[in-house]
């Protein structure tokens, strides 16, 4: 397994910079998710890694071997990259074993070694008993396992996954996620996983690169991404953060947090070190907000509507200071009625770096 280094890589289609000066270091054996809305460039970046797209600027290297850029381009067939396609792209005219063994056959491995490696790969994904089936006779989940085994058998430098769960129903999706985690633990493969589903990315990835309009907005572990987004786009895209205008004061509070002014109400926020006082943006999350207790200070707001979830209810609020905006919070008990004037206590928030 190889580590992957991208150095200011760009891919330009006409006027559009589909991938715009992306730099990233993916350590060997990590599972990285490329996350972003559709059209953000994540699939183009994946195809760049596979070699289906050339790099117009910058370089891509597997370990210390440049595969794209510097005026050269290693074609996909010589990259040793495995890929799980969205619809798996299993060859319908070959059996499961033939699918898995194809790369080895191309490499002219001896029959015995080929069979042994195919068997090993199929065992890893628990599909050894279906080796002689054709893909058409497999369920969606089984096809995915075969696709994984096909990658595994070729001993790739990197495994790429192109929204492999997008075609599955919700129930299967959960068990397949588990399958990927198990596969990753068992093989220690370097994996790059494209998805537009943030929950999927959070659940699977060691590190997540959030992309927007060709640019990597943030590349960090899931917890950091969620707790400390670096841009408003990341804050809003991941976990539906609410980005609000604040004015940061110079002083720090007792727990190391900074005090700030939110629509005239003082709040305590986590902030990157050394942030200067002044106007800024903060990311609030549902679970950082609650209805203020009787007599407690808080942000005045009006209840606009409810969304009932069963165990809890989301309350949509219009802050009195800026009724164009909407804040949401969750309550487990009976929510205040629509139109009620309430106050919101801010327990946690994160100051976005300028």
């Amino acid at each position: 397994m190889a580590g992957v280094t991208l150095d200011r890589v760009s891919r330009v289609f006409g006027q559009t910079r589909a991938v715009d000066r992306v730099s990233m270091t993916i350590a060997a054996g990590t599972l990285v998710a490329l996350l972003g809305p559709s059209g953000c460039g994540k699939t183009t970046l994946l195809r760049l890694l596979a070699g289906f797209e050339p790099a117009d600027e910058g370089t891509v290297a597997f370990d210390d071997r440049v595969v794209s850029g510097n005026g050269g381009h290693v074609p996909p067939e010589r990259r040793r990259v495995g890929m799980v396609f969205q619809a798996y792209a299993l060859w319908p005219h070959m059996t499961v074993a033939e699918n898995v063994g194809f790369a080895l056959k191309v490499r002219r491995l001896s029959g015995a070694e080929r069979r042994a490696r195919v068997a090993r790969a199929l065992e890893t994904v628990g599909m050894a008993h279906l080796a002689e089936r054709r893909p058409a006779a497999l369920s969606g989940g089984q096809r995915q396992r075969v696709a994984l085994a096909r990658c595994l058998a070729m001993e790739p430098a990197v495994v790429l996954l192109d929204e492999p769960l997008a075609n599955l129903d919700v129930h299967l999706r959960d068990s397949m996620q588990e399958e990927f985690r198990r596969f990753h633990r068992a093989t220690g493969a370097t994996m790059v996983y494209v998805t537009h589903d943030q929950a999927e990315a959070m659940a699977l990835a060691d590190r997540i690169a959030v992309m927007d309009r060709g640019v990597v907005q943030q590349f960090s572990d899931p917890a950091t991404l969620y707790r400390s987004p670096e841009t408003a786009m990341v804050a809003e895209f991941v976990g539906r953060g609410m980005v609000v205008p604040v004015t940061l004061n110079g002083s720090a509070s007792a727990d190391g947090r900074r005090t700030a002014d939110l629509w005239g109400t003082p709040v305590h926020l986590r902030a990157p070190e050394g942030t200067a006082a002044g106007p800024a943006s903060a990311c609030l999350r549902q679970e950082g907000l609650r209805l203020a207790a009787e007599g407690e200070a808080g942000l005045p707001a009006t209840v606009a509507r409810h969304t009932f979830h069963g165990a809890s209810t989301t309350v949509h609020l219009r802050p009195s200071a800026d009724p164009q905006r909407t804040l949401t919070l969750r309550v487990a008990a009976e929510p205040p009625p629509v139109g009620a004037e309430i106050r919101v206590a801010v327990d946690d928030g994160w100051l976005l770096p300028a």
């Binding site: 290297a61 071997r65 440049v66 595969v67 050269g72 290693v74 319908p92 194809f102």
Partner: protein, 572 residues
């Protein structure tokens, strides 16, 4: 970091380039060079006498008469095709007509029956001893000529023969139309006829133009119908004029018939340009909101309309074949067919006659070779064009169409020009041999196999090829292990189409056959020409049976090979 260490630079593998060169050689030799040679003959190479030959041919009144006849009969036939094809397509596409798949099959039937056999069958159907006259109690006046030996007969038969082209074009056009416009017109209170007249037909105009132009090009290139109907009537078209001149004077007047072929090619080129223009204007609405479906109910008109449709379909698709079969079973022309008088003698004669049995062998061999060869070239050519997007392959893909789109007579003359002089190195001429037929067939039928194959290659999901690429397979390996197996059913269907067309080929063979190298089409024609119409009918019936069996086989391939739509023309 060092520059690109792994596996060298991203140049294209040389194996692919070699393959491209092979395919290019095939297309150039069989499709391009002969046609270029023909144009050169008339303009450049005519040994200084080019201008003189041109002048002589263009000065002959025969030339202009044949050209006029070609235009006249071509336009008349196109009118018949347009009316027949459009009415049937509208009825099938828009109404709740019953038994639609059978209607479609019979409407396409003329496409499967070669022109010379259709002409023969119709001659029997309307000839003096037809069962049709007994049925309606009409006494065919003794000594009266068959009414089909006339300009109108030629127009009618060619019109019926090429009506399926209009039918298919209009049907495809109807399928691409969204239902919204029709529904809007209905909501505005317009009746069915008004909707067809003022909404549908204007929107279908590109399809009508494309289908009509194709029918026209086929009609002016038709040889079987004007040969069987026109020659006895003294009505000469360009195709039959070329045939008669070459038959009468031999290859000494090759230069002159080359000029005739060029006149025909020029008229065809205009027709093809109009067809391309029509196709380019056709709306490519694939993601339509709702298909048109059966917009109109026949209601109380059901009985009259369905009766009329079946009468027409029986007339064009069934009765001629019955007449043909009955002729093949009578003891002698004029003897009425009955349970006591029928005989298999003519079939026995067919197999006893060395010429006809040789023709069966020749046609079988020629069409098998043409089919296999066309598939073997079509798959790599389609792969290089559609998947690998090689520029040269795209050009070849277009060029391969020319010998099939242009009238067969044109290609035949071109091939004679190329193969008449002794071949370099070996020093023998292929003229008057089996090989000149094969050469011409390989060029003529490549396009027929190429279109279905291309549809098959295009329908291979790109990810399947990419997955093989990541598995380390080079482009030739991917062609062999992934693309070829997946496109094989479509390619096989293309091969069957080539076989069907080549098995009954007449137009090209009529100019290229020689003693010992007859083809089935030629035999049917010359048996009839020699007055042995019962034997001609027997050979024709056998050919039709073989053709229909092959069509059935192609249908099975289509069903079980899950072919993409449009691979088989009659299932479009």
């Amino acid at each position: 970091m060092t520059a690109t260490v792994w596996g060298g630079a991203g140049r294209r593998p040389s194996g692919e380039t070699l393959l491209l060169a092979l395919v290019a050689g095939y297309v150039l030799v069989f499709c391009v060079v002969p046609l270029l040679r023909l144009f050169a003959e008339a303009f450049v190479l005519g040994a200084g006498g080019a201008a003189e030959t041109f002048g002589r041919v263009l000065g002959a009144s025969r030339t202009w008469q044949a050209t006029w006849h070609t235009l006249e009969a071509g336009l008349g036939a196109t009118a018949v095709s347009l009316v027949l094809g459009t009415v049937l397509a509208l009825l099938v596409g828009l109404t709740d007509l019953r038994w639609k798949s059978l209607v479609v099959f019979l409407a396409i039937m003329p496409l499967l029956i070669p022109a010379q056999i259709a002409a023969l069958a119709w001659l029997e159907l309307l000839g003096p001893s037809s069962f049709l006259y007994d049925l309606v109690g009409y006494d065919f006046p003794a000594g009266q000529r068959n009414p089909l030996y006339s300009r109108e007969g030629i127009m009618l038969l060619m019109g019926i023969e090429h009506a399926p082209m209009v039918f298919l074009a209009v049907r495809a056009g109807l399928r691409a139309l969204p239902a919204d416009q029709v529904e809007a017109a209905r909501a505005a209170g317009a009746g069915p006829l008004r909707i067809i007249g003022s909404v549908l037909l204007p929107m279908l105009r590109p399809s009508l133009i494309a289908g009509g132009a194709l029918a026209f090009v086929s009609a002016i290139g038709n040889f079987g119908v004007p040969a069987l109907l026109g020659i006895p009537a003294g009505y000469t078209m360009l195709t039959t004029l070329v045939y008669q001149r070459l038959n009468g004077f031999g290859i000494t007047i090759l230069g002159q018939v080359a000029v005739l072929a060029m006149i025909l090619a020029a008229i065809a080129a205009i027709g093809l340009a109009i067809q391309a223009w029509g196709l380019s204007r056709r709306s490519q609405a694939i993601e339509r909101a709702a298909a048109l479906g059966t917009a109109f109910s026949l209601g109380r008109w059901r009985w009259p309309i369905e009766t009329a449709v079946w009468a027409v379909l029986l007339m064009i698709g069934v009765l001629p074949l019955i007449a043909l079969s009955s002729t093949s079973l009578v003891q002698a022309l004029g003897v009425p067919l009955s349970w006591e008088t029928w005989t298999f003698d003519h079939y026995r004669e067919v197999f006893a006659n060395p010429m006809t049995s040789r023709a069966f062998q020749n046609s079988l061999m020629l069409s098998s070779l043409a089919a296999v060869s066309s598939v073997l070239v079509s798959v790599p050519l389609s792969y290089l064009t559609l998947t690998r997007r090689r520029g040269l392959a795209r050009v070849l893909d277009l060029l391969a169409d020319a010998p099939y789109a242009l009238p067969g007579i044109v290609l035949a003359i071109a091939v004679i020009l190329i193969l008449l002089p002794p071949l370099p190195v070996v020093g023998i001429s292929l003229y008057n041999s089996f090989w000149i037929l094969l050469f011409a067939y390989l060029g003529r039928f490549l396009a027929l196999g190429l279109r279905p194959t291309a549809a098959g290659v295009q329908s291979v999901e790109p990810a399947l090829e990419e997955a093989a690429q990541l598995a380390g397979a080079g482009s030739l390996r991917r062609l062999r292990s992934v693309v070829f197996p997946l496109a094989a059913p479509s390619a096989a269907a293309g091969g069957i189409l080539v076989f069907m067309a080549a098995f009954n080929e007449l137009t090209v063979s009529a100019l290229l056959w020689s003693a010992g190298n007859e083809t089935l089409g030629v035999v049917v024609f010359s048996l009839y020409d020699g007055g042995d119409s019962t034997a001609a009918a027997a050979v024709a019936v056998l050919s039709v049976v073989a053709t229909l069996l092959l069509a059935g086989l192609a249908g099975l391939v289509a069903r079980f090979g899950r072919l993409p739509q449009g691979v088989l023309p009659w299932q479009a």
